[in-house]
Every structure is written in structure tokens, then in C-alpha cells.
């Protein structure tokens, strides 16, 4: 089953996402420390859910670094935020998708599934 890495500085949100994704059978790794995602080792996650603002770290900078690093640049990234400009920011950075807070469980799971399917087609 696919492995998902979540970065958000709100422990409750991490808890909720973890439970929701585990219900669907995903393997989940969650952290409140944005820089953890840059230390990703094998086996690599199939998807990263990245909050736009994580304890002083701008999710956009983390994303840019992920795209630069050789071993993480292929991993699909989904931005998540309560920021009203999320849609424009996601388009500007050409991330794989975005999830607006507050999110609906079914909607969020559909979105994750879509991104993973697209990514599998692109890199079989």
C-alpha cells in the first residue's frame, strides 16, 4: 500500500489525517518538523502532504528544496492550508494538487487517490 508523508505543525491535524488515511489502508508517517521531510530516506514515500506554514518554515521553500534534491524530486506533493490564496499559490508552484482547510474526509481521500493514480501512470 502507498506510503504518505504528512507535514503540519498542528498535532491534531496530523492525528486526524493519520487516522483517516490509515482507515483507507495507507501507511502514514507524520511530523511537525518541516525539515524532517528533507531527510527522507528509502523507502521513499509515494506522496507528501505539506502544510503551507509549518512553525516558522514556509512550505513553499520546503517544496522548492524537495524538487531540487535528486532523491525527492519525483515525489508528488500536495499543498494544504487555510490560506485563502492556496489555489493561486498551488498553481504558481505547480504542485500536484492542493487541499483547502477545513477539508471534507471523503473529498480529501478522493484527491489523494487521484494524485497517486496520476503519479503511478507517470512513473510506473
Amino acid at each position: 500500500m502507498s506510503k504518505i508523508f504528512i507535514v503540519d505543525d498542528d498535532p491534531d491535524i496530523l492525528d486526524i489525517l493519520k487516522m483517516m488515511l490509515q482507515i483507507q489502508g495507507y501507511q502514514v508517517q507524520a511530523t511537525t518538523n518541516a525539515t524532517d521531510v528533507l531527510a527522507i530516506t528509502d523507502p521513499k514515500p509515494d506522496l507528501v502532504i505539506l502544510d503551507l506554514w509549518v512553525s516558522g518554515n514556509d512550505g513553499r521553500d520546503i517544496f522548492t528544496q524537495l524538487r531540487r534534491l535528486e532523491h525527492t524530486k519525483q515525489i508528488p506533493v500536495v499543498f494544504m492550508s487555510a490560506n485563502s490564496r492556496l489555489k493561486e499559490i498551488a498553481a504558481e508552484y505547480a504542485v500536484d494538487d492542493f487541499i483547502e482547510k477545513p477539508f471534507d474526509m471523503a473529498y480529501m481521500l478522493d484527491k489523494i487517490n487521484e494524485v497517486l493514480t496520476r503519479s503511478r501512470k507517470k512513473n510506473p
Binding site: 491535524i13 486526524i16 485563502s84 482547510k101 477545513p102 477539508f103
Partner: protein, 400 residues
Amino acid sequence: MQAVPEKYEDILASNQDLRTRLEEAEGIIEAIRNGEVDAIIVKTNNEPELYTLKSADRTYRIFIEKMNDGAVSLNREGIIIYCNSSFSRMLNVPISDLLGMHFLNVIPAAHIDLISSLLDRSWDNDSKAEMAFPGKDKPVPVLLSISRLEIDGGQSLSIIITDLSFQKEAQQQRKSLDQKDEFIAIASHELKTPVTSIKGYVQLLRYHFNEEGNTRAEEMLGKADVQINKLSSLISELLDVKKIETGQLQYNLERFNLCTLVKEMVTELENFSNSHIINLKTHGDCMLYGDSNKISQVISNLIENAIKYSPPRSEIIVEVSEAGGKARCSVQDFGMGIPKDQQSRIFERFYRVTGPIENTFPGLGLGLYISAEIIKKHHGKLSVESEYGKGSTFTFELPF
């Protein structure tokens, strides 16, 4: 002097020329007599010189008398030798009393030191200062602009007093709107985070109760989820206002069918609440180009308002039609209606209809403001017809 003409034809031509000039001169004198000339420009060897006539002076005099700014001139001793009616109005003292008085004796005592030093300085350099004059009902904020004039060898100070009330009020309004907007941006973001947690846990609990077959608990949490969505949309409304004000509201344009959209919205609202009888009438096939999500936001706002302000089980008529190159959608209710004097204000931001019954309904006064802005951006118009106690009809028209 012109050369003496030699031929008879030349004499005739010269005579004709002189006659023409004489007629022109008589014409000018006649025009001056009739008050049609304000000024004469005389060409000399150097610069052209301008001579004004009495009638022209009168025009300028009336202009200064009638202007909104106060105008005063002082002689070397600081005595008022002229002032207009605006100045007298600002101080609330008749002109006849002001003439001949020392300027420092007519201004508010609190400003005497400041103005005294300003007047001294103004003989050398132009100066400006802001202060408040007593006014008739309330203090008037004013700007004093003082400059030195030299007329016919004599010197005087001219003071123009500009009433700043209008600018100050506009500034104050802008400031309070800016503060509201800043508050909205922060509050919306901060409110969304806890709502995300609450919504997440409620949905997880629903899932688990459903798995366990506890339908009672699952239903209750379903109701909580509906309320959370309401709270979410209130926060979104606040954010939309912020976006409208800063021009950040994005429109995703596409072709869509208005009739289909309205049908979908009505079905969705009927699933959500069956407290009213919604009667849907559609005529034609209204294909439009616009942001269908935003238009559906307008439709649901109008129907939700109709539900909110009319008694349960009453009818709501939703009608879509085409006329004169426009698509038209109206939502009619048979509820409390809106008093005539408040109808023009209901599309204003934060405006809420006031009254003993109206005050008991919850809301921020943003829904209609946002709807009107969305329709305006689509080059359409949102309007209302309403009779107090009988009901309201909200109609929007969109060009094809």
C-alpha cells in the same frame, strides 16, 4: 503713417480699409457697452498687455465670494480688510463684524500663538497649518494657506481657509474599513484552523459509529457536521469580502447552463431542508459564460435568505427565463419583506435590515453584498422588489 496713394483705385481701396476698421472699432465699443467683453489684450512692442474691465472683476469677485474655501486678506497690521462669506460661516461671525478686526482677535484663542508666528513668517515665505475652527454645530477642521500679495505697491497677506471636514470624514471611514478588513483576514485564518480539527474529529467519529452500527450517534454527528459547514461558509463569506476589497476574488470563466445550475441548487437545498415549498419555473435554455461556482453561490444565498425570512411551509418561487438578450433569475418569497427606506442599503457591506423582528435573525450582513459584487463582475444587475409584511423578490439579470 501710410504712404500717400497715387491712383484713384488706391484711394478707394484705402478708404474701404479705413471704413472696415472703423466699423470694427465701433463694434468693439458696442460690445464693451453691452458687457460682452471681459478683457482686452493690447499688443505692444514687448509683451502683450492684458486690460481687464469692470465686468471681469465682478466675475472674479463673485467667484471668491461663492467659493467653499474661506478667503481673507490682512493689511500690514494684521487687520482684516476683506473676507468672504465662507470665512464668516466657518467662524460663525457676520462679515460686517469681521471687517476691521484684528485677525488674531477672531480666531479661536487656542491657536493665537501658532497663527501669530505663522503670520510673521508669511511676510517672507508662504506657510500652511492645520487647525480646528468653531463652526456652527461642530468644530470644523481647516487648512490655512497664507501668502503675501503685492498690489499697486502695497503689501497684504492673503489667507485661504480650506474646510477639511469632507476629507477627514472620508479618511476616517477608510481607516475603519481598513481595520475591519485586517481583522477579517486574521480572524478568518485563525478560525479555520480549529474548525478543521473539529470537522476532522467529527467525521472520524461518524465513521466509527457508522462501522459499529450506532446510527443514533452517527446522525447526531451528521447534524454537528452540517453546523460546522455553516460556520465554515460564514468564515468564507468574511474572506470573500476581504478578497473583493483587495481585488483578489478570482473568477474561473466557462460556459454553463443557468437553468441546470438553478435546478441543481434547488435540489441540493431541498435535500438540506424541506421547511418551505420551492416552486421552480424554468423557461428556455439559458447558456451563459461566467463563473458557475460563484453564480451558484448567489442563487443559494438568495434562496437561503428567502427561507430564512419567510414562515415555514410558505411558498418560494424560483424562476429562470430569457428576455432581451439577458438571462433572468428571480427568487420570490412571501415573508416579512423589507421596509422601503432600507431597500437601497441592503446590498451594502455589513448592512442588516433593522427592526424588532429582523434583529432576531442571525447573520453578518455580507451575503447580499457578496452576491451583488459577483453579479456586477458578470456585467449583470441584482435588484429587489419588496413590500413590508408581504414578501420580497430578488432578481438578477446576466447578459449572454
